[in-house]
């Protein structure tokens, strides 16, 4: 499927291969000519001409080799390229859940390592395979033509080879699969440990983590050895069969010559053919392992490509207006990450255009889950969520997300400059606007002090920010993105009071005429909200504004009281 666009290239290189094969076959022929026509005649001049012709042949063949190699391997690279594009593209449309379930290391290997193994299939296996199979067919035809009986005798071993191959194929495939899957767990483990290295070091747990790594490593080694042993038995066994075939030939052919049922010439020719026959067969056996490896990879890649994203664009999407009003309705929504373990139970509320809504509740109550439903990181199982009266499942994902800005609990920094990190893909935003926003939340002076100011690289390999600085940066992202709906999930948890005041002021400005949802444990941040939703174990237990909820003297009241007293801790 992926080789299709490159049929021409493959064909071209096959053509070149054909030429190279002919050139290499020409050598015995030239020797024959030399012997028959020149040496016997003592024709020095003719010999010289032959030499020149041979020289040209060498040159042309050498040049052909260059181009053949190039085309072939370039094709391999193009195929790899396409595969990588396809896999990455596939990843980019997969839903959140996919990334939560698959360790990063595994996804990374899928794109780098597995694809690389496929390369061999295209760049080496296919062409050689064709070559070898052609040679085999030619030899078989010749042998059959000369003596059917002798051919059959010599090929007595073929059924055994077939059985052996069949057996090894199964075993090899299994080991290849195992090898791949262990490698991918090994790498996932590695990736995770590298990311969390400081935690490992701080808990002085290097030893134990290394032990586990070595366990996996050892497992990988053993699987690799298993593969090696199998291969090392399988490959040379073809040579053994070749020799057995020769023995059969010697025994039967020799007797036939003595009996004078077969001519000496035929048997002599057969000794050559049998050897020539087993040569490419051995090559095939070598190829065999590569093919198995490539197939194991291909299997995994196609498996990946075939896992359909569960959160997809609707077939007949409705279009959201350029600017949405921001009416959000949760209509008896039920949601579970897994099976029927309901995280949100019958959540029912309405947020009107331009309202500011707070969501409070104990940790694990399901606040972040509500947010993840609004921009369809996950899909709810029951009930309907709508934006401006349109079921969000009926609009394009990007169309929906474009209107919703979320500041998450943990901020992720990309490797790129400060500007890049704040601007993301809003290319129309000028540097001045970013600086203005940064001033508004009191972080401008910090960015200016960085080695290259706003052009300092952040992220991996870049300058390290403190936790609060990261949060401010992700707040800036939302300010710049200027979405119609703004959602803050614990966006100020790691920010000091003074910066928070600045953030609150900015937020007040932003939330004017904009639907805003704020999740916070610090109730002070949401007491001004038009509506507060109190969540407990996935259910809405209370809803109303600050005053109303206090009057209720229920859960929210408790929370407030708690926040304002009971801090009699002696630290």
């Amino acid at each position: 499927m992926f080789a299709k666009p490159y049929r021409k290239l493959l064909f071209f290189s096959l053509l070149l291969t054909g030429f190279i094969v002919i050139a290499s076959l020409a050598q015995p022929f030239i020797i024959k000519v030399a012997i028959d026509s020149y040496i016997k005649m003592n024709d020095y001049q003719g010999m010289m001409y032959l030499g020149i012709i041979y020289f040209i042949l060498i040159m042309v063949s050498s040049i052909c080799t260059y181009f053949q190699n190039n085309t072939l391997q370039f094709t391999g690279q193009y195929v790899i390229y396409d595969f990588r594009q396809a896999v990455f593209k596939h990843f980019s449309v997969m839903q959140m859940d996919f990334f939560r379930k698959n360790p990063i290391g595994r996804l990374v290997t899928r794109i780098t390592h597995d694809v690389e193994a496929l390369n061999q299939l295209y760049s080496q296996v296919i062409v050689n395979l064709v070559k070898e199979v052609l040679i085999l067919i030619g030899i078989i035809a010749l042998m059959l033509y000369m003596s059917v009986k002798l051919t059959l005798i010599c090929f007595l071993v073929i059924p055994i080879i077939a059985i052996v191959t069949f057996y090894f194929k199964r075993v090899l495939r299994d080991t290849q699969r195992k090898l791949r899957s262990i490698l991918s767990s090994l790498l996932s483990y590695l990736a995770e440990n590298l990311s969390g290295m400081s935690v490992i070091q701080l808990f002085a747990r290097e030893r134990k983590q290394l032990d586990r790594f070595n366990e996996l490593n050892e497992e990988h080694y053993r699987a690799g050895m298993r593969q090696t042993v199998i291969n090392s038995i399988f490959n040379p066994s073809i040579g053994l069969f070749g020799n057995i075939s020769l023995a059969l030939l010697v025994w039967y052919g020799g007797r036939s010559v003595v009996d004078e049922t077969i001519t000496f010439g035929t048997v002599y020719a057969f000794t050559h053919y049998v050897r020539q026959f087993f040569e490419p067969l051995r090559g095939l056996a070598d190829r065999f392992n590569q093919i198995q490896a490539a197939l194991a990879s291909a299997e995994r890649i196609f498996e990946t490509l075939e896992t359909k994203p569960t959160i997809v664009n609707p077939v007949q999407p409705k279009e959201l207006p350029e600017k949405v009003k921001g009416d959000i309705v949760f209509n008896h929504v039920w949601f579970a990450y897994k099976n029927e373990e309901w995280v949100l139970k019958d959540v029912h509320f309405r947020i009107n255009q331009g309202e500011t809504v707070g969501i409070v509740g104990a940790t694990g109550a399901g606040k972040s889950s509500i947010i993840q439903l609004i921009n369809r990181f996950y899909d709810n199982q029951k009930g309907i969520i709508s934006l401006d009266g349109i079921n969000i499942k009926n609009v394009l994902l990007n169309d929906l997300r474009r209107h919703i800005g979320i500041i998450q609990q943990d901020a992720f920094i990309f490797s790129g400059t400060v500007f890049d990190n704040i601007r993301l893909n809003h290319n129309a935003v000028s540097n001045e606007e970013i600086i203005k926003a940064a001033k508004a939340v009191n972080i401008d002076s910090f960015f200016r002090m960085l080695p290259q100011g706003y052009n300092t690289m952040l992220g991996e390999e870049g300058t390290v920010l403190s936790a609060g600085q990261k949060q401010l940066l992700s707040f800036l992202r939302a300010m710049i993105a200027d979405n119609d709906v703004l959602i803050l999930d614990e966006a100020t948890a790691n920010i000091d009071t003074e910066s928070e005041q600045a953030v609150q002021a900015a937020l007040r400005e932003m939330s004017k005429n904009r639907t805003t949802i704020i999740i916070a444990h610090r109730l002070s941040t949401i007491q001004q909200a038009d509506k507060i939703i109190v969540l407990d174990k996935g259910r809405i237990v209370e809803m109303g504004n600050h005053q109303q909820l206090l009057k209720n003297q229920m859960v929210y009241y408790d929370l407030c009281q708690n926040q304002n007293k009971g801090k009699t801790l002696k630290i």
Binding site: R84, T112, F213, S415, S466, I571
Partner: protein, 594 residues
């Protein structure tokens, strides 16, 4: 890079195994060379009609014996040599991992995880192939070539052999010329893979931001770029490779040319017989494959060298945080901490992150740190944990300079809740019992109760055996934080550090945790960082950091009297909350004073 080439070291270490493998392989090759000899005696015998039926049996038997011998020796030789390659692979990965474990945080800040992974996957793979394909084929080629050459020279014509071998030094020359070219291209290819890996790695880590801000298209573009340049550098390497291959083939062809032209002249001059001429060319044709293989091997070796260098670069990075000379071999810490004129500047930083810090925290007391974002709070505790090296004579633990305290002892003595709650993708139980000492289930439960996360965990279907996703992302933010707290509380250590560790929990839970902590803290030295005064107001000492300096210090009461930053923080945090009474009259809730 002072270390010896990895492959060389490995080779020397396992020289006997290599020798054995080489011998086994050689024997099998030599045995296989008997096949033409046997065949010759068969065809000659048939031609002369001197062969008997009984001889045929024997001859057949010989074929089978030789075949079996060649098979056994080749199999075992191959297994032996390939085993070495697998050992090399395994040992390299293991030493990379254990070396990475010794490297400091600073190292990781200058590296991309994807790149490091590429070392462990691709570079190590190339190293393995050096042995698997390189060494194996080299032995094969060397044996076949030397036997053929020997046969040619000794049985046919010495000078002709020399003449034929004449172009071959050209091969060496070409190999030499291409050496650096292939090496540079290989390096670029290996780096490109690293970049690609990093790109995917970053994409997966940042997926939620990417999705939120619909960055997929952008990321695809970036990936396409990387993917394209990967193809580009690969093509360069391929071009260099192909040129090398075709040139070396041309040179081998020249040898043929010489053998044919001069060989026939010699025949014409009757120096050698026609039969010799044919035999000579047969031997020469035996050489094609091995000589071509040598070209490939040389190629591979260059790629291997690039990989070798890359790996050695990692392995020769010296850890900077380690037990230095003159450490005091203490195994326990009581918990007196004192910072004297501590100033610290990050390698990357333009300005000092901490300036002239002086604090003493006697055993069993508590220090609270407040301050603006980026004021150096985490930096201070990072230094206490020696994630970075503080200057000498600036941090003292039990009157020992922290740099003289064994790293292990230090870190075993501190229970630490970091600001970002990195969890591992193992079960919750294993995450809580992360401290390498053995813990009973009961202790895990106890720690979970103390961190007030027991109920949450018990509500999960698999309870404490629930497997977490990477980074623990299948838990809610507050749950993650509390598991991280439990992970610290399970350690019976004399020092405990909370870095903004109650930021993601609601106030009820916070109160609960603080209450249970109270008993714990009596006997421990504790350091608590927070932005909320409610969390820290009863600490024995409070310091306020601003731009790396202590600007205020005292207790809650004394700080309130100072009317500075702390006071301001306090008023902001308390007055921001309005509390209407039931009859609608608004009153201001003040903190309960003692």
């Amino acid at each position: 890079m002072s270390k010896k080439p990895i492959f060389k070291e490995h080779f020397v270490l396992h020289k006997w195994s290599y020798l054995l493998g080489t011998i086994l392989l050689t024997v099998s090759l030599v045995l296989q060379l008997f096949v033409p000899v046997l065949l010759k005696s068969f065809t000659d015998g048939l031609q002369n009609e001197s062969i008997q039926v009984s001889d045929l049996w024997e001859l057949s038997l010989w074929f089978v014996i030789v075949g079996l011998g060649a098979f056994l020796f080749r199999s075992s030789g191959r297994i032996y040599i390939f085993k070495m390659s697998r050992i090399l692979e395994r040992d390299l990965r293991s030493s990379l991992f254990s070396h990475w474990e010794r490297l400091q945080t600073e190292y990781y800040q200058n590296q991309r995880i994807g790149n490091l992974m590429a070392h462990a996957v691709n570079d190590v793979n190339i190293m393995r192939q050096i042995v698997m394909q390189g060494y194996f084929q080299m032995v094969e080629a060397a044996v076949l070539i030397s036997i053929s050459v020997f046969m040619m020279a000794s049985t046919i014509h010495f000078y002709l052999t020399l003449l034929v071998l004449l172009p071959l030094p050209g091969l060496t020359y070409i190999a030499y010329r291409f050496r650096s070219k292939i090496q540079t291209h290989s390096l670029k290819v290996q780096e490109a893979i690293g970049t690609l890996t990093s790109r995917v790695q970053e994409f997966c880590s940042g997926i939620s931001v990417i999705k939120t801000y619909t960055q997929e298209e952008e990321e695809r573009k970036k990936f396409t770029n990387d993917n394209q340049s990967n193809v580009e550098v690969n093509k360069q390497l391929i071009r260099a490779n192909s040129l090398f291959t075709s040139l070396s083939q041309g040179i081998v062809g020249l040898s043929y040319l010489i053998s044919i032209v001069f060989g026939s002249i010699l025949v014409m001059k009757s120096t050698i017989s026609l039969g010799d001429f044919v035999a000579f060319n047969t031997y020469l044709s035996l050489l094609i494959a091995p000589i071509e293989n040598i070209g490939k091997v040389i190629n591979l070796l260059q790629q291997g060298k690039a990989a070798d260098n890359r790996i050695r670069e990692v392995l020769s990075t010296e850890p900077t945080i380690l037990d230095e000379e003159g450490i005091v071999p203490i195994t326990a810490i009581r918990g007196n901490i004192s910072l004297r004129n501590l100033s610290f500047k990050y390698q990357r930083g333009k300005e000092s992150a901490l300036k002239n810090i002086n604090v003493t925290i006697p055993k069993g007391t508590s220090l609270a740190i407040v301050g603006k974002v980026g004021s150096g709070k985490s930096t201070l505790v990072n230094l206490l944990l020696r994630l970075y090296n503080p200057p000498k004579n600036s941090i003292f633990i039990d009157d020992h300079d922290i740099r003289d305290v064994p790293l292990r002892t230090l870190r075993e003595s501190v229970a630490y809740v970091p600001q970002d709650n990195f969890l591992f993708s193992t079960s919750i139980k294993e995450n809580i019992a992360f401290d390498p000492n053995p813990y009973q289930d009961e202790q895990v439960f106890h720690a979970a109760r103390q961190a007030h996360v027991y109920q949450d965990i018990s509500d999960l279907p698999d309870k404490f055996d629930t497997e977490l996703g990477e980074r623990g992302l299948s838990l809610s933010g507050g749950q993650r934080q509390r598991v991280s707290i439990a992970r610290a509380l399970i350690k019976p250590s004399p020092i405990i550090i909370f870095d903004d560790s109650l930021s993601a929990v609601d106030s009820k839970t916070e109160t609960y945790i603080l209450n249970t902590l109270r008993t714990q803290m009596k006997s421990r030295t504790s350091i608590i960082i927070s932005h909320r005064i409610s969390t820290i107001q009863e600490a024995d000492q409070i310091i306020v950091l601003d731009k790396g300096e202590i600007v205020e210090r005292g207790t809650h009461q004394s700080l309130l009297k100072q009317d500075g930053i702390y006071k301001k923080m306090f008023t902001q945090q308390t007055t921001e909350f309005t509390w209407p009474t039931l009859n609608g009259r608004k009153i201001l809730i003040k903190k309960r004073r003692r």
